[in-house]
């Protein structure tokens, strides 16, 4: 009996477009929910997490010497063949890179160079705003790499887009645990 009733109910609903009305109510509800868009270059921008793989940087040791020993392991493992290392011997007799160039136009930010490095000298930092009009500007040399910002300390927050977040800035955000992307998503 109840099943028959159910089926008549469905048929009556179908005849009066209950399903279509449901759909319309849903979209109408969505129209008044908050958009999830992040207005990136105009208003807000995102702070990367500490494990974010952005622009590479080269590290220095305690004495301020470049850590890299020019073993070329990173150049070997790189799937895009975009690192070029030429070693030399410095005054103290250490092996150091005379030339260390990364072609950012070809890099796919896999982070394998960071994993392969035996001296913990290279890593992928937090910088992600380095687009350029010419691909030759994207070949970054050793000294530039030494100056690039390192890993992010905090991360995941959303800050005003005009803030300069180049150097490990510690920006106070209201979401220290990271931005909750699901916050505005309506789930019914």
């Amino acid at each position: 009996m109840s099943r028959a009733l159910d089926r008549t109910g469905i048929w009556i609903g179908w005849a009066f477009f209950a399903d279509l009305a449901n759909a319309l109510a849903l979209t109408f509800g969505y129209m008044f929910s908050r958009p999830v868009t992040m207005q990136y270059p105009d208003k807000e921008k995102w702070l990367p997490y500490s494990r974010y793989r952005g622009h590479h940087f080269l590290k220095r040791d305690e004495e301020g010497e470049i850590k890299c020993v020019a073993c070329e392991l990173c150049a070997r493992i790189c799937p895009c063949d975009c690192i070029e290392v030429i070693p030399y011997e410095d005054e103290k007799g250490n092996r150091r890179p005379a030339k260390f160039e990364i072609d950012m136009a070809r890099c796919l930010f896999c982070g394998l160079c960071e994993d392969a490095c035996p001296a913990d000298a290279i890593a992928l930092g937090q910088q992600y705003e380095f687009s350029s009009f010419s691909s030759s500007d994207l070949v970054i040399g050793r000294d530039d790499l030494l100056g690039k910002p390192g890993k992010a300390m905090t991360g995941g927050g959303v800050v005003a887009a005009h803030l300069n977040t180049e150097q490990d800035v510690l920006v106070e955000t209201s979401e220290p645990q990271g931005y909750n992307w699901w916050r505005n998503i309506r789930r019914t």
Binding site: A23, Y30, M31, D42
Partner: protein, 328 residues
């Protein structure tokens, strides 16, 4: 002297009408994109002007400065004719559409319509039928398979849905005992036609959706399977013509729905100026069109035909019979 004034008034009204119809698509495209964005939890255009308000102007400038490309294999004459054929009828139709009784400016009564034809309804349907040629010629002349498929679909769709649409309004004509849109609105001064003609309105509205080729019946320009349908090969200003025509028809369908079934400029409860009431009702229908577009998927071609011939046609005929019997 009187003749000159009357003539001048008509010219002025026509010019105003054309200006409004040409400019209305600008805010409408903006609204459509905004509503679409918010329904999908996006923001829509945001970057040109305040909340993207100047986006349609930017798009217009872009369309005007684009290359006006004609495919090598196209039938050049028809290709150039089609956008004009698509654009002119919706504008011509508005000549017969009243927007209110009259207003007095500086002591003279000015009627809010260009002409009060006694067969206005017939005129509207006859002229709007010509618009199909624009779509069919456009698709045919472009000599592209997507465009041809789009215009073939349009051809069948328009013919199938014009019949129930025509039948649906017969009920209204029977109630008002007149084909003049002005008389039809006057006849609804107390009770709107929607009360007597709910089925007629339903058929009219669905057929109107199909006639203006909006989702869920936008088979002619199904982006998913036909590129852009009949106007795939059009660019620049000619494409803009098709767009304006599409919005004008959407507006026309809303205006007709209001005039025929929702009491025209007759208000209820709240005493607002008639023109405001009219505008509000039309705006509501325009919103419904946009709302539908971002809610429903597209019907399949056979479903489209089945709805037209197996549901709407019998419904509209039954509506006429029942109205007739009730009259006796």
């Amino acid at each position: 002297m009187e003749l000159v004034v009357a003539l001048g008034l008509i010219v002025f009204k026509v010019a105003l009408l054309i200006a409004i119809l040409l400019l209305l698509p600008l805010p409408l495209t903006w609204l459509e994109r905004k509503i679409a964005g918010h329904m999908q939890q996006r923001m829509g255009p945001m970057r040109v002007g305040w909340h993207g308000l100047l986006q349609p102007v930017a798009d217009g400038v872009k369309l005007l400065t684009k290359e006006d490309h004609i495919p090598a294999e196209a039938d050049r004459f028809l290709f150039k004719l089609a956008p004009i054929l698509a654009l002119a009828p919706p504008f011509v139709v508005f000549v017969a559409v009243p927007f209110g009784e009259s207003v007095s400016v500086l002591g003279t009564e000015i009627t809010l319509y260009v002409s009060n034809m006694n067969v206005a309804l017939l005129f509207v349907f006859a002229v709007i039928g010509i618009e199909v040629y624009g779509v069919i010629f456009g698709g045919w002349a472009a000599n592209s398979k997507y465009a041809v498929l789009g215009s073939l679909r349009t051809c069948a769709q328009m013919i199938s849905y014009e019949i129930p649409m025509g039948f649906a309004v017969i009920g209204v004509v029977m109630l008002a005992q007149s084909m003049s849109l002005l008389d039809i609105v006057r006849a609804q001064a107390n009770v709107w036609n929607i009360v007597y003609q709910p089925v007629g309105f339903f058929v009219f509205f669905v057929a109107g959706l199909a006639e203006s080729q909006r989702i869920p019946f936008d088979l002619a320009e199904a982006e998913g399977d036909l590129g852009a349908g009949f106007h795939t090969e059009y660019s620049g200003i000619r494409f803009a013509f098709f767009m304006v025509s599409e919005y004008a028809i959407m507006l026309l369908t809303s205006v007709l729905a209001v005039i025929l079934f929702f009491g025209g400029w007759n208000g209820v409860l709240v005493p607002l100026p008639p023109l405001v009431w009219f505008g509000l009702k039309v705006a509501f229908f325009v919103y419904v069109f946009i709302w539908f577009r971002f809610t429903f998927p597209r019907y399949r071609y056979d479903q489209l035909m089945a709805i037209g011939w197996k549901v709407l046609l019998p419904l509209s005929m039954a509506n006429i019979i029942i109205t007739g019997v009730a009259f006796l």
